[in-house]
């Protein structure tokens, strides 16, 4: 929930600054403006990358996204929100990377900070099970699941980001959820009802 609130704050801040001409300055190659845009949004991209491609490649791919972003910024028409466009770049980059590296294993996030009310061993175990289950499903389904469950995107936004009809988002999510449940049960997760 905290990350959702933070995302909302970022969204508002980005919208305000985009309106204030931040993107135009970035287009002109203003390095300070580029740094500002990067600092405002990079944690969103990085978080998505960690979940989609794994910890070991997340930083590098996040940088790739921003290299593309700054080189393609003139293609941003403003029809969709800037944040949605950024997510689309990031998701495409991640999916392309995964297609090229089909046999590659992602690395789970051992050691992430989480809710401190829960015993650490239990937190790690639960988290690892979901991370392993997520690795086992199709990357596109994983991205849709992440965009919904972690990034709290609407179906319309998910459709724009992933490039699928809005009407198919629900069915893909259902498939992602069922496959994840199946893998979690196989892995010994007892929390599913």
């Amino acid at each position: 929930m905290a990350s959702n609130q933070a995302s909302e704050q970022v969204r508002e801040a980005v919208s305000t600054e985009v309106e204030a001409g931040l993107l135009a300055r970035c287009l002109q190659g203003d390095r300070q403006a580029q740094q500002r845009l990067y600092e405002m949004t990079m944690h969103l991209v990085y978080r998505l990358m960690v979940r989609l491609v794994g910890l070991q490649d997340a930083a590098d791919l996040t940088q790739q996204v921003y290299l593309k972003l700054f080189s393609k910024l003139d293609q941003f028409s403003g029809k969709s929100r800037f944040e949605t466009w950024l997510y689309r770049l990031a998701t495409n980059e991640a999916l392309q990377f995964l297609r090229k590296n089909k046999n590659r294993k992602t690395k789970t996030l051992m050691g992430d900070p989480v809710n401190q009310d829960q015993p650490e061993s239990e937190r790690d175990e639960q988290r690892e099970l979901l991370e392993v289950a997520m690795e086992r499903i199709d990357p596109e389904l994983r991205s849709i699941f992440m965009l919904r469950e972690v990034e709290k995107k609407s179906y319309r936004e998910i459709a724009e980001i992933v490039g699928i009809p809005e009407g198919t988002v629900g069915s893909r999510l259902t498939r992602a959820r069922r496959e994840l449940q199946t893998h979690l049960v196989e892995l010994g997760w007892e929390g599913l009802q």
């Binding site: 580029q34 990085y46 900070p113």
Partner: protein, 283 residues
Amino acid sequence: MNCSQIQELLSDYYDRELKEDVRQHVEAHLKACDRCAESLAAFESLSLLAGKLSTPSPPAGMWCELEARLQKESQGTGSVVLLEEKSRLPFRWYGRYSRVITAAVLLLAVGIGYLNFTGKEHGAHHHADGVFNQYLTAFEKNPDSAQQILLKHYQYDPVQPQQAARLLGYQPAIAQSVPAGYEVQSSYVMKMPCCTCLQTVCKRKDGSCIVIFEHDDETPEWFEGQPKIKATCNGEKCCLINLDQDIAASWQHGKRHITVIGIRDVNEVNSLVAWSERDSDKS
């Protein structure tokens, strides 16, 4: 609606994406059908589990590296020489990540071998005795003990930074001013195999320390075997080295070089570069 139709709409219902009239149909079915209600409950359990996924902190040095890549792209061949593709690593993770990344860095270093910094010849500036490596390893655990390693192996003169000029032949940066937020704990003119340098231990307010070396030549052999990242920090070209717990940074300062060990993140590198470029005599 039958169960099959409801199952198709279950995500839409759960995510509140259904139109109100369809939603009411699904709701009515769920009240009467245990199987479909269980499917919905499973979605809720999965959401709870997804909520436990943490938000990782991005590595602190990413902008420096990205800026160097942007600069390289904008300049074609570019004046900033980046290391080869495999060496571009997430730089400096906070807390528990640092060990994971350092392990990855070390593994990569074994894989791709020693990565040359700039291709310059460094002649006899080798610390083949491994003293500096011992120092770096010890520094991570206990900076005071590490200092004793250097003092044991190299000739030195304890000095006040302001008095070092008579031994060095130049006024060192630390004699001009101390970086904000630190205080000088000790300072030595030290005769190392590569050169005679000024080594200053500076304490942070929390008692931890950084060590500033001002020296005549570059320092690749000080960090032999460690992958290095070239980046622009506060407008200056820097060489960053990921150590176990901390990072080291080295940059040209006029005719000489400054190397700092024990830095926590790239923001701290930026502030130290700013300090050296703002206040000191580069002559």
